[in-house]
Symmetry: C2
Subunit: 437 residues, 2 copies
C-alpha cells in the first residue's frame, strides 16, 4: 500500500455497495485522520454500468470489464459485496492471487469455498476480512476471534435471521398468523419476494457454520447443520408458550459436547428471563458462553444497508491499518487452519420438549398418552390442559418434558400419531435452556 | 519478543491475578497453538509473598522486590492487575520506559493518568491494552475501537456497575428496600465492605470516561461526568415506574450534541421495551448508537474473577500476536491522540422527568402544581393519582413530563418544595428515551 493513500476496488454496487460508497464519502476526513492516509475508491466492477444506484459514483470509476478492474495497479483492497458464487468466487480468487486483501460480505461463498480461499490468501500473504458475512453490523466475528480469545467457547445461541425474527415477533406480539406475518414482512422490506432461504433456516445455517468454525476452531460446513424452518409454526403454540413463560425464536445453536459438536437451526421456546427471548423484530443477537467469561451477548441489526456497510467499512479500516493482516498472519484461528470436527448424531441430542396433543376427550386418555411417552424413557415435566367448551371431541393437551433424546421424542410423536386416542400428529417444539453463566 | 516464547510479568496476585494465572495454566497448549509460541509466566510482583493465593504460583516466581521484577530481561509483557495509583502508576511507567507492553485492568489509573501513560507508551514504541478496565469480560473497548470503526458514535448508554444493578434488581424484582438490598449484595460478594465508590456512581463515571473517550475520540476525565448515586432511591418510585412501564437503572450516559458532549451517571427510568431495561442482577451492558450501525448492545459479566481474567488474557494474546501493537501504532484512536472536548452545562440537558409529589388532599391542588410546572416551561406528559385511603392528608401525585431543561426541573422541584400544597421535596427521576436506531 502506498504511503499517501489506500486504493479500494469495489465489486458490486447494489444496496450494500452503495452504503459502502456513502460511508467512504461522508466519513472521508475522519477515516483519513484515523489512518494517517486516505481511502480512495479506484474502481467499481458491476454487471451493468447503466443500472441506477443509491450512491453517486463517478462514471469513470464504473466498469463492467473485469480486465479493467483487475488491471488497475492502484487497488490495494478488493471489497466484494456482489454476493453469490459465480462469477464472484473467481473474482475473489483473482484478487487474492494478485496480492490484494479481500473484504467480503459473502456468506454463501465462505460457506462453500471458505477453506480454499483462506489458504489462497495465506499463500499470497494477504488476508480475508468477513465481518459482514454474519450478523450484519454486530461485530461478533471480531469478538470471537479477539475479544474472547482467552476462552474455550462452549456454546453459542444466535438469532441470525432478521426475516424470521420479524415474522415470529409479529405472530407473538400481534397475534398474526404465519402467512399474514410473512406478507407483512415482504411489504416492509424485511423479506425477499422469494423468502425460501430465510424461512427454511438455510441462511441462518450458513451464518452458524461461520460462527461455529471461529468459536470452536474446527472445520464446519453448512451441511453439518441440521435445519428446520419456521413455516409450520402455529399461532396457538405461541400462545401456549407465553402461558408457560416462553418466547418462540428461530435459534442457531452450536454446542461443544464430549462426543462432538451439535449444530442446528430450528424454532424453539426460550424462557422469557433470557436476554435472547427479548430480541424483537428484525434485530439479531448472539449469546456466547465462554468457559472464563461466562455468558456474553452481542445485539444489533443483522442486515440492512448501513449496518452491513458499517461492518464492511470497519473491515476496510482494520485491513488498511495493517493490524488485521498481522492478526491473519500471526494467529492460527482462521478457517484454513481449523481441525476437522466430529458431529453428534442429531437423534442423540438431548433437549426439553413441548408437545401439543389433540387428545380424545374420554376417560383414560392421559394414562395412555403418559404410557406411550414413559415407555420411551421420556420424563414429563409439566402438563397443561384447559377446560374445553369445544364440541370436537378432542382437547389440546400440552406436555413439557425433562431432557429427552431427540430420537426418542420423534418415536413418541410417531406413536402418539398412531394412537386411537390422539388426532393427527402432535405439535412438537424444543425448549432450549441456555447454560447458567 | 523471542521466537519460542513470550514472557509475562504479573503485578498483583489477588482475585484477578489468580484468575489470569489459572487461565495461562489451563489453556497453555491452546494458546501456544494459536500463537505459535508459548506464553511463559516469568515473575509475579506482590506486596507480600507469603499471602495465601487462589492460584498455585511457583515460589521462585514470586517477588516483593520491584528491582528483581524489572531486572528480568525475559519479561516482554507486563500485566498490571494490582489496582490503585501508587505505587502501581510508577510500575507501569517503568515498564513502558523499559520497552515492555502493558496490559492493565486499572480504570482508576487510566482515568487519572491515561493520556500521559499512552504518550509514554508511544514514545517507547510499545502499547497499552486495557479491555478489562471497563465492562469486565465484555469486549466493548475492542468493539468501539475496531468493530464499529466505520461509525461516528452518537451516543452510548451503559449499565457499568454490577453492584448497583444487583441492588436495583433486588429492589425491583423482590421488593427489597435499599438498605436490605445493599446488605444482601455485601453478603453475596456483589458489594465491597465499603460500597461508596459503587453506590455513588463514581466507579461507573470512571468507566464512562474511558468509553466516551474512545467512542467520541475526545479527551474526557472522570471529573467531566456529572454523577448521582442510587442511595436515595425509594421503593415506591420503583413501583410507580413499573406501573408506567419503566425499569429503574443506574445508567452511564454519553451523548454527542451540537453544543458539546453530555456525560452523566444517574439512576433513571428506562422503558421496558429497551433491551437495557432487561439487564438484571450483576450483569453489565452497553448500548451503542453509531450513525451507520444504528443500535448495538454488548452484554455480559462486568466484574468477577474469571470474566475479568478473560479480558486481561485476551489482551495478552492480542498483544503477543503483534496485531494490537500494530493497531496502537497505525490508528490515531488512542487517548493521547484525542482532541479536547466541550461539555454541555448539565443544567442545559433536556430529558423527560418523573416527579412524585406529596400533594395536600384538598381542592385546587392540581391547578397549583400544574401552574408551578407550566410557568417554568415544562410540559406535562402524564399524570397518575390513585384514590387514597390514607389519613395523612397528603396523596402521592405522579407527573411525567415531556423533554424539559434540567435546570428548569430543578427550579420546579424547588418551587414545589416551598409550596404550601406540597409536603417535602418531590422525588425526581429522569426518564431516558434511547434513540431509535
Amino acid at each position: 500500500m502506498s504511503e499517501a493513500s489506500i486504493g479500494i476496488g469495489l465489486i458490486g454496487c447494489g444496496t450494500v455497495g452503495s452504503g459502502v460508497i456513502t460511508l467512504l464519502g461522508e466519513m472521508r476526513e475522519a477515516y483519513a485522520q484515523r489512518l494517517g492516509r486516505s481511502l480512495e475508491l479506484r474502481r467499481v466492477l458491476v454487471r451493468n454500468t447503466t443500472t441506477p444506484r443509491d450512491a453517486v459514483v463517478p462514471a469513470n470509476l464504473m466498469t463492467d470489464d473485469p480486465e479493467t478492474f483487475f488491471g488497475d495497479p492502484d487497488i490495494d483492497i478488493v471489497v466484494e459485496v456482489a454476493g453469490g458464487l459465480d462469477p464472484v468466487g473467481g473474482f475473489v480468487e483473482r484478487a487474492l492471487a494478485a496480492g490484494k486483501h479481500v473484504v467480503t460480505a459473502n456468506k454463501s461463498l465462505l460457506a462453500a469455498r471458505g477453506v480454499e480461499l483462506f489458504a489462497l490468501a495465506r499463500k499470497h500473504d494477504v488476508c480475508i476480512a468477513f465481518e459482514a458475512s454474519c450478523g450484519g453490523g454486530i461485530p461478533i466475528l471480531q469478538a470471537l476471534k479477539f475479544g474472547l480469545a482467552a476462552n474455550r467457547v462452549d456454546a453459542l445461541y444466535g438469532i441470525l435471521n432478521g426475516t424470521c425474527n420479524y415474522i415470529l415477533s409479529q405472530m407473538s406480539d400481534h397475534g398474526a398468523e404465519y402467512d399474514a406475518a410473512l406478507t407483512d414482512a415482504k411489504a416492509k422490506g424485511f423479506a425477499e419476494a422469494d423468502p425460501t432461504l430465510d424461512v427454511t433456516g438455510a441462511d441462518a445455517a450458513q451464518k452458524l457454520a461461520i460462527l461455529a468454525s471461529l468459536a470452536f476452531g474446527v472445520a464446519v460446513n453448512a451441511d453439518d447443520v441440521s435445519c428446520q424452518g419456521i413455516d409450520e409454526i402455529e399461532i396457538e403454540d405461541i400462545h401456549y408458550g407465553v402461558e408457560l413463560g416462553y418466547a418462540i425464536k428461530l435459534l442457531a445453536i452450536a454446542e461443544r459436547q464430549d462426543e462432538g459438536y451439535v449444530l442446528r437451526v430450528h424454532p424453539c421456546f426460550v424462557h422469557m428471563d433470557e436476554p435472547l427471548s427479548q430480541v424483537r423484530d428484525a434485530f439479531n443477537a448472539v449469546s456466547v458462553f465462554g468457559h472464563a467469561v461466562g455468558h456474553s451477548m452481542f445485539y444489533g441489526h443483522g442486515a440492512g444497508q448501513m449496518p452491513t456497510a458499517s461492518a464492511v467499512v470497519s473491515d476496510i479500516l482494520n485491513v488498511a491499518a495493517g493490524w488485521y493482516p498481522q492478526a491473519f498472519k500471526s494467529m492460527a484461528i482462521w478457517p484454513d487452519q481449523h481441525e476437522p470436527s466430529q458431529m453428534v448424531d442429531p437423534d442423540d441430542v438431548n433437549n426439553r420438549y413441548y408437545l401439543r396433543i389433540a387428545a380424545r376427550d374420554v376417560p383414560g386418555v392421559m394414562a395412555k398418552v403418559a404410557k406411550i411417552i414413559g415407555d420411551l424413557g421420556i420424563s414429563i415435566s409439566a402438563i397443561l390442559q384447559h377446560e374445553s367448551d369445544e364440541d370436537s371431541g378432542f382437547v389440546p393437551l400440552i406436555i413439557t418434558t425433562h431432557d429427552a433424546r431427540e430420537g426418542s421424542v420423534r418415536q413418541a410423536a410417531e406413536a402418539l400419531a398412531q394412537s386411537d386416542v390422539v388426532a393427527g400428529r402432535p405439535a412438537c417444539l424444543r425448549i432450549i435452556e441456555l447454560p447458567t453463566g
